[in-house]
Symmetry: C2
Subunit: 139 residues, 2 copies
Amino acid sequence: MIIVLERRGNMAEIKFSRQREAIQKELCGRKDHPTAEDLYAKIRIEHPNISLGTVYRNLHQMAENGKILCIAREGCPVRFDGNPAPHYHLACTACGRVLDVEMPFMHELDISAAAATGGEIHAHSVLFTGLCADCISKH
Amino acid sequence: MIIVLERRGNMAEIKFSRQREAIQKELCGRKDHPTAEDLYAKIRIEHPNISLGTVYRNLHQMAENGKILCIAREGCPVRFDGNPAPHYHLACTACGRVLDVEMPFMHELDISAAAATGGEIHAHSVLFTGLCADCISKH
DNA sequence: GTCATTGCAAAACGTTTGCATGAAT
DNA sequence: ATTCATGCAAACGTTTTGCAATGAC
C-alpha cells in the first residue's frame, strides 16, 4: 500500500471559493470536532446547494495545507479540528464527544521518539480515552 | 451519535473457537500491525473456510476484552496490534508502515490530562508521524 | 439442549471519484 | 482563456449485519 501525503501537486494555484470559505469559517468558529456530515448539515442551511463531496474535498485540501487537523478513531467517522496547532484530545467513553485537553504540548516527545527510532519525527498526535468532566459530574 | 463501548453484554460466556485461536495466534505472532484483510489472507492459507466477517467479529471482541489494540488513521483501514500493553507507534510517511516506537510509556501524561480535564483518563494512544529509520537510510 | 460462533452474501457506512458545468483569475 | 472548484450521482473500500447452520459446553 502506498500512502500519498504529498502536498498539493507541484504549484497549482488555489482559487477562492464561497464554499471553502464557508467550510473554513464554520469549522474554525467552533471548538468541537465535527464530522464532515456535521459540517455539511450546518453549512447547508446557508448554502443549500453545497454538496458533500465539496465538503470532503475542501477538508482534505485544508488538512494537506496544514490549516486543520483530522482525528481518526476505530469505528467512527473522521473528525476535524479547526485549530491546527498541535494539542491533545480526549474521547469521552460516556458521551462520545471528542474534546480538547488544555495542557502543554510535549514537543520533547518527538525528540525522544526520533532518538528511539533513528528516524525523523514530524508530529505526534495524542488521543486520551476516558470520562470527561461533564460525564463524571452527571454521575 | 452514540458510541458503544460497553464490554461484552453482561456475562455472556466466551466459547472456544478454532478461528479465534488462529486469529489470536497469527496476530500475536507478528510484530507488525496488520489490517483485518492482511490477517484474513494469511489465516486463509491454513483455514480456507474462514470468513472475513469472522475475522472482524473476533478482532472486535478481542479489542473489547483488552487483548489487542487498534490503530486508526485518516484514510487507512484500521490496523491491529497483538501487544495490548500501552506503547507508541510511528506511521512512516514514506513507506506507509506503522511501527512500534521503543520508548518508555508516559503514564504521567494520563495524570496531567486528568488534572487538566477534571475527568478520568483510562488510556492514551500516541501516533507519531515521520520517517522511519529504514526510509531515512535508504535516501 | 442451550447459546455462542460460524460462513455466506447482502447491506451499510463513510468517503472518493468522473464528469460536465460554472466560477475565479 | 485558462484552470480550479463545484454539484451530482455513481462507485469504492472497509466494516457490519441477518440468518440459517454448526460447534462448544
